[in-house]
Subunit: 483 residues, 2 copies
């Protein structure tokens, strides 16, 4: 049964268990949906409060003035059966059940109640998201589950069995430039499952890349089919939680998930065409790769290879790297090669172009380019990156800002802007996958944080792929090019 | 021949090629040493300028008013032979040669000049650091090579064949709490080599942990002996640059280093007792581990194991993890187990203690502790961490702040302080290795950056080990416990 459109695009929403305590989920939902720009009716449901977050509250779902498409339940588990009864009278299509303490507790009573809830909802023709979940974010409708989520519209969708994980992914993803179409935290997946969401997102024109955090599934065959369909149309990146024995045990008490065998999962994900990652950082890195890296020159490069200095088709992708000092150049070469990329020598045409202007560098500078030996040569790292962009010997590129040197200069802030802007200009026109590197904006020194965060913002505004280290950029490029 | 003490503790320093251009190394050296609190004489050497960075300048080394212990050379390579002649007349013990463009360029003339420089220095009884290096930082004498290096005294020494790398290590290390005794960038290692520095640091009472970035060596046997001696006395962590073919080629043009075979290096480092890492982040993580993690309960734990529920001595170290929501708990279990740690279930004594106060949690909560289910239970994550500290079933601990949840609360800033302070209190008394996790202070949002950077500062001030992700904490704990 397909997911009702109203899960993402309801005309009216009620928050059962809405609260005027500003430090509670029952307040956060109301405020988040209101501030998210939701244009339909929002009904906070609370026995006593006349208004919540500036909106008129109602004593019960039944007391709301109109029918309701979507109800978000923040009430305790023992009130849910009664809530479903009321929802029936208001023609509710879907309930998002933030309410938890069901099968994930492992307790017999709670498991039995969960089964009753499922039955009652089915009898009433109501679909359930959750229980034990944060629910749904949609950047177009304004539906949301926390007031501080980034609201810019974009093509990345994220499906998460964990609520906090979906918040973390959105916040840290936004700091890397990701913009979201739809985000779902689906918890115990009692009714609507991860497979249903993959199925939905496969057909969703607003979504170009899909990420997911999954702990377990109730129906592996259905998930596999949905995943395959989805990843035939757009890249899908999956972090599977519960790969180990203790992880699997923890998943059971988190979302009552049966985590299953690691090898079986990995094989199935691969066969379905999804990209599996094992850490949260890798998840973000690969979403950044699929959201921002371009590879429009693939055919062109293949052609030029066929005509000229072509290695075999099975050859490793060849990366050109610019930026950082000499020690960083050595380390960049190491991590690129270890990630499965080839690091070719600078091609002779580029050497001759250098010789004309900077003869002392022509036989010395190489790939990766040591930025520190360019001073006074008339060639900047950016200019060499630009030459690599045009040269058929490179399939992928890395442009490293090398901010630690920049930050030591008296004009650090302006220099950072100039350097980043030149990189951004090159990034915008690149047809090859080009990953930029700008260290984490993690300095405890405010002026350094400002300079780095400002530089990062410029890459992000241009929707370019920026990584905090060369090795993360290299690994992401290599995996991106595998697909 | 041992390193002259004056390399780190000169009574007088001259900077040959000092410059009044504030955007030049010749200015940076003078300013860095002056602002570093160096108490001896500082002589900027410049043909024309009467003063540089507020200090009287002299037209030549020979013109300086007293003998000179240490000269830093920023002049072009073709002036170095003349400089050595002048240094001889001033009883100079050591020259730090920032001057580059010698053998690393691969040019015959430059290689020949380097050999002449070595011979001239030897004839004059002068030792050389470099050429092609940044030189020496000493937090006690105030010697330095860049004005923005962290100056707090501490026990970490770092030896680097790369100049920029030493700057990056100090800046990013300081943001993680590392405080330095001595840092050396030694470049081409023409005279004084990395082996000499290991030898020196083995005997250096101010140094408790040694890190190094090495591209190649001229004398593997000498290096091995020095490394072994040093790592018998204190932990040594080594990042070897030039592990791959392209990395090795790049090292040759960076410091004229012969990078050698990767397998031989790894085997030798292991045999010498050093810890090898392959990325810059790992290098910092392991220095943080050895600088801050304690393991005073090792014997005690071994005893308790012998007496009670002891697994075999070859058993994996058992880690207890607290913090983050349910999805994070699952991921924490996975990454800990994948790092080689065991993640045991919560011991029954702890369950019973929980039952007394929070019966609904007693059979549900487990290790890793899902912070989100503790709300209202009377038990905080910190309190459970404290219980793990006392319990013999845990050999190591991870306390995760889980800041993404905290930052969504209305009182985020105060809550962060309270939570971190409670963790700091536990960290200070822990006899077990206890790693904290607080995400990168990488938010582009100023208030979030302030909250996270402020929290990080509190861990750092207490000199506790703090990691940006649970997986980095887990891998560092596992490697720390291997030693």
């Amino acid at each position: 049964m397909p997911i009702p459109h109203e899960v993402f695009r309801p005309k009216s929403v009620a928050v059962a268990g809405a609260s005027s305590n500003v430090d509670s989920p029952g307040y956060d939902y109301v405020r988040a949906i209101k501030e998210g720009g939701f244009e339909g009716s929002i009904y906070p449901i609370n026995l006593k409060a006349p208004e919540i977050a500036g909106l008129t509250a109602y004593a019960s779902v039944a007391a709301a003035p109109t029918d309701i498409d979507l109800v978000i339940s923040c009430i305790p588990a023992d009130g849910v059966l009664e809530l479903i009864e009321q929802c029936r009278t208001k023609n509710v299509r879907t309930i998002i059940m933030f309410t938890g303490r069901f099968s994930e507790t492992g307790e017999a009573d709670a498991i039995a109640l969960e089964a009753k809830v499922m039955q009652a909802a089915a009898d009433a023709g109501i679909r359930l998201v959750g229980p034990n979940c944060m629910g749904v974010f949609d950047s177009t409708s304004g539906l949301s589950f926390r007031p501080d989520l980034p609201r810019e519209k974009g093509g990345v969708a994220f499906i998460s069995q964990s609520g906090n994980n979906s918040v973390e992914l959105m916040l840290h993803g936004a700091a890397r430039g990701l913009r979201f179409s739809k985000v779902v935290s689906y918890g115990n997946a009692l009714d609507i499952t991860e497979a249903d969401f993959f199925e939905y997102l496969a057909d969703d024109d607003e979504t170009t890349v899909v990420g997911a955090y999954i702990e377990g599934t109730r129906d592996g065959r259905k998930l596999f089919a949905a995943l395959r369909k989805c990843s035939e149309r757009k890249p899908v990146v999956i972090l599977k939680g519960g790969r180990t024995s203790s992880g699997s045990r923890t998943a059971a008490s988190h979302t009552a998930a049966l985590a299953g065998q690691r090898q079986i999962w990995s094989a199935a994900l691969k066969q379905a065409g999804a990209v599996e990652v094992t850490t949260f950082d890798d998840l973000i890195d690969m979403l950044v790769a699929f959201a921002f890296l371009r590879n429009e020159s693939r055919q062109q490069t293949a052609d030029s290879r066929a005509g000229g200095r072509a290695p075999s088709p099975a050859a490793k992708p060849r990366v050109g790297v610019v930026g950082g000092g000499g020690g960083r150049a050595v380390q960049s070469a190491d991590v690129c090669e270890e990630a499965g990329l080839a690091v070719p020598k600078l091609p002779s045409e580029m050497r001759e172009a250098l010789r004309a202007k900077a003869p002392q560098l022509a036989d010395w500078v190489d790939n990766p380019v040591d930025q520190s030996i360019l001073a006074g040569s008339g060639f900047s790292g950016a200019r060499i990156l630009d030459m690599m962009l045009e040269h058929p010997d490179f399939d992928a590129l890395i442009g490293n800002v090398g901010e630690d040197w920049v930050l030591g200069r008296p004009d650090a802030a302006e220099r950072m802007v100039t350097l980043v802007d030149r990189f951004v200009e090159i990034g915008k026109k690149s047809q090859k996958p080009l990953a930029f590197v700008l260290g984490e904006a993690d300095s405890l020194d405010e002026s350094k944080w400002r300079a780095v965060a400002g530089g990062r913002q410029r890459f992000i505004d241009a929707q370019l792929a920026v990584y905090p280290t060369v090795d993360r950029a290299a690994r992401s490029l290599a995996r991106f090019l595998e697909r």
